[in-house]
């Protein structure tokens, strides 16, 4: 019996507006509301809503035999609330079927795991609270941004109490080994590792509508036939996809929804196949060995490494400059600043600055609001400069600033005290008046 583990990533970043350097210090609103709303509405209508509807139908029809899992980033949830609340409702309906597992993730879909344990932890906590708030579900399996994983990240996740983590079944890590087994973390074997079968996953999310592909057209029957032909010892097939593969990357016209509708039926009908959530896989299967990942991997590009986000000097500078603020951020309680801080960490910003495929002619334009990585970098750094100015006025970075802030705090406290006393005074006077007037009535 083989388990088929379906997982979908749902994420939308808050894209920045064109933020010129003369805005620094003058204008503190960074977001392109129009683009964010338009994109969110488009993706919701083309992908999230119809796919959710389809999954709900399948869950009802197949009565508990069909299972899927999601990780929905905090920023995607915020955008749903702002622009497409019906998407949240449809996810809530899905949650009620009991066929769905929600995974843990960083709130901002951030790269914090590569920089700071404390922030990473905060991001995860924040996200889990959100998920609990919406779906009444405490995630037990973790999925890091873009499947980024290393032994160390895994060990930290194990320490935080998660029992499994998802990552890419990268060739250079697995070598001759197959991704179709359950593995464990090399440092802490209590953490189970699910490795993505990138060949079969990408057949759906990337190659499905490619008419030059030798297997075109792909049908559910054909796909399940492939699954059935896999080595009979293998125990799990991890299909991890970006959720917008349905209806966005693969358009409705390509027949992707027919494929999705027929796939579960065929899997359930197959004697050797069944659906399982990541938690079930982690609990029910026996791990075959530890997997050693000394350097972080991800599911991006041919190299399966971090170069899409931290490949060039610009990306590294932006990343360093951002997390240089983390000490100050720890002391910052301002709501707006914390919100912007979350939005600034989104990995997409760094992805826009990638020069990797700028020359390769590969079409990434659909996902990138900037015409060049340089523009993306300048824009981000301008935003960050303004954010830093604001943060400094809240949480100063040096001695004098600290002193000024302390004095400000004293003044604020005194003000507060005066206000309170004034209120007291007013109350007492009123009380006196009231008792006077009562007295006169008497």
């Amino acid at each position: 019996m083989k388990s088929v583990c379906l997982f979908f990533q749902v994420h939308q970043p808050f894209r920045h507006r064109r933020y010129r350097f003369f805005d620094i210090g003058n204008d503190h609103y960074y977001y392109d509301d129009y683009a964010n709303e338009t994109i969110m509405r488009r993706v919701a209508e083309n992908s999230y809503l119809p796919t959710n509807k389809m999954l709900l139908k399948l869950a009802d029809k197949l009565e508990g035999k069909f299972k899927v899992s999601f990780s929905i980033t905090g920023l995607a949830l915020e955008q749903f609330e702002l622009y497409a609340p019906e998407v949240i409702e449809s996810f809530q309906k899905l949650a009620k079927t009991g066929c769905v597992e929600f995974l843990s993730e960083t709130y901002s879909h951030s790269l914090s795991s590569l920089k700071d344990k404390e922030i990473f932890k905060q991001q995860i906590k924040l996200h889990d609270e959100r998920i609990f708030g919406f779906f009444g579900h405490r995630p037990r399996v973790f999925r890091n941004t873009e499947m980024i994983y290393s032994d160390e990240i895994g060990a930290q996740i194990a320490d935080m109490g998660y029992h499994a983590m998802l990552t890419e079944g990268a060739k250079h890590i697995l070598g001759w080994k197959s991704p179709n087994f359950l593995y464990v973390n090399a440092i802490n074997p209590r953490l189970k590792i699910l490795m993505r079968n990138f060949k079969l996953s990408d057949d759906i999310s990337f190659r499905f509508s490619n008419s030059n592909w030798s297997e075109f057209p792909l049908t559910a029957e054909k796909f399940v036939n492939w699954l059935g032909k896999l080595n009979s010892n293998e125990e799990v097939v991890n299909l991890f996809l970006s959720y917008n593969s349905f209806g966005e990357r693969q358009t409705k016209e390509s027949g992707i929804f027919d494929f999705l509708e027929n796939l579960p039926k065929n899997i359930i009908a197959h004697p050797e196949l069944r659906f399982a959530t990541p938690s079930e896989v982690a609990e029910e299967l026996q791990p075959v060995s530890a997997v050693s990942v000394p350097h972080p991997i991800s599911w991006a590009d041919e190299e399966r490494d971090l170069t899409a986000w931290l490949g060039n000097e610009m990306q590294k500078e932006a990343f360093e400059k951002l997390y240089n603020l983390r000490k100050q951020m720890q002391k910052c309680s301002d709501r707006e600043l914390n919100k912007d801080w979350n939005y600034l960490q989104v990995s997409d910003h760094f992805y826009y600055m990638s020069t990797k495929y700028y020359s390769g002619g590969e079409d990434r334009s659909g996902f990138n609001p900037f015409s060049s990585p340089y523009e993306a970098f300048i824009n981000y750094m301008n935003v960050l400069s303004d954010f830093k100015i604001r943060l400094n006025s809240f949480v100063p970075e040096d001695e004098i600033g600290n002193e000024i802030a302390a004095l400000h705090k004293i003044i604020d406290e005194k003000e507060e005290k005066i206000k309170k006393m004034e209120a007291d005074l007013l109350r007492l006077q009123k009380g006196k008046k009231a008792s006077n007037s009562r007295g006169s009535k008497r």
Binding site: R20, F21, F22, E313, Y374
Partner: protein, 425 residues
């Protein structure tokens, strides 16, 4: 090959491009080049090709062919300072400026000078015709397979050579009258250009931008026009003693003629925006041209004269000195067929901002591209390069690597392909 200038006696990018291409062609072992210019000074680098000065030829040949030899010969020597990138009007200005220096000329024939300047417009076109006459003689006395003429001043010479020899003609368009005049097209020049293009068997354009102009504005069939991008000579290794930057401030540079098509006013507006936000930066405008006075006035109006400097026309080593001091180079051209200066800047390791309206934008990747009119984007790019160090680092490395790979031999290879198709090989 017919051109108008050759290093070291150059006034613009054309001479450099001709030299680079000739050198590139000579590296392909099956091509030999005879290069004809109106006047050879004798100190040109002839290691890679044979250089013929029309002035030298004329003396011998004309004795046989023409009656009024003496006058014609004088004429040609005077005409040697023709500058291919200027319009007739500008040429007159430059020419009148040169009289004071060329005292020899003034001394020998006072009356001729008056005659010359009075009817100048007519003379420029006549000179071109005379150059064409000499080219006929050269064509008769030399063995060659193909004729290659650079820019409109040399088209008539190329056409004449074709008429005499019957060999195929390739015309190389470095700029069109539309680029030079900014829409105010001189009909005489246009007709020469068009005649040349129509008679040519093949046309080479320095960018797709120029190719489109040729197809749309001159009505040439697109199959006849091929784009071959220019390249850059590797920088000589020897380090000259460098001037020290006198100020501990960032320097942003504009380098080019201060004329409408180079967009100097946009550079100034962007400078003004940057200066509002940061103080430790200076802007330099290197070059001269008919808009210089207007630009100085604008600087004064904006009240940024203390941070904005005019260097005048720079040449040779001065250009490299300027780049050594520069932190950001901007080329905000409104219309630029190619634009070799950003390549030179990149070679010197200077981060570069260019307009989308320049031909060189078609090939460069390690540069920031903006629209010339978008002064906000320009200012933002300048500010970014000055304030976010990794961006400048990225361009210094990447830019240098990129231009080092732009070799003339590759351009020459492409030119050779054009020759082959012109010869039906």
């Amino acid at each position: 090959m017919f051109g108008w200038e050759f290093p070291p006696h150059i006034s613009g990018g054309l001479g450099t491009a001709c030299y680079g291409l000739t050198k590139g062609l000579s590296e392909l072992n099956d091509i030999e080049v005879i290069f004809v210019v109106p006047k050879a000074f004798g100190d040109e680098d002839q290691s890679t090709m044979k250089l013929i000065g029309a002035n030298n030829i004329a003396i011998i040949q004309r004795e046989v062919q023409f009656d009024d030899i003496q006058k014609k010969i004088d004429y040609f020597e005077v005409n040697s300072s023709i500058i291919p990138y200027v319009s007739e009007d500008e040429f007159w200005k430059l020419k009148s400026g040169k009289y004071s220096r060329e005292t020899k000329f003034v001394e020998t024939d006072e009356g001729f000078k008056i005659d010359f300047s009075g009817t100048y417009e007519y003379n420029l076109l006549e000179e071109i015709k005379n150059y064409a006459l000499v080219s006929e003689i050269i064509a008769r006395n030399n063995e060659f397979d193909i004729i290659h003429a650079h820019d409109w001043l040399a088209y008539p010479a190329g056409m004449a050579a074709k008429n005499v020899s019957g060999k195929p003609l390739v015309i190389h368009v470095h700029a069109t009258e539309f680029d030079r005049s900014g829409g105010n097209v001189n009909p005489n020049v246009y007709s020469i250009e068009r005649e040349g293009m129509e008679m040519a068997d093949k046309i080479i354009a320095v960018s797709n931008f120029t190719r489109n102009t040729i197809i749309e504005k001159y009505g040439i069939s697109h199959e006849k026009v091929t784009t071959v991008y220019n390249a850059l000579e590797p920088q000589s290794k020897e380090k000259k003693p460098l001037l020290k930057k006198g100020v501990n401030e960032k320097v942003v540079t504009f380098l080019g003629r201060i004329t409408m098509q180079k967009g100097p006013e946009y550079f100034i507006e962007a400078a003004n925006l940057v200066l509002k936000k940061m103080n430790n930066v200076r802007f330099a405008m290197a070059g001269s041209g008919d808009m210089m006075n207007a630009m100085i006035t604008r600087i004064a109006e904006l009240g940024i004269t203390d941070k904005f400097h005019f260097t005048g026309f720079l040449q040779g080593d001065d250009v490299y000195q300027m780049f050594e001091m520069t932190d950001v180079f901007v080329m905000p051209s409104v219309s630029e067929p190619f634009g070799i200066v950003p390549l030179e800047a990149m070679q010197s390791g200077v981060p570069v901002i260019i307009s989308n309206q320049s031909g060189v934008a078609e090939i460069l990747e390690n540069v920031i591209k903006i629209d010339f009119w978008d002064t906000h984007a320009m200012a933002d790019a300048v500010y970014g390069l000055l304030n976010y160090p990794s961006l400048a680092t990225h361009f210094k490395k990447g830019g240098k690597l990129e231009v080092d790979n732009l070799r003339w031999i590759n351009s020459a290879q492409n030119v050779k392909e054009v020759y082959k198709s012109a010869l039906n090989l």
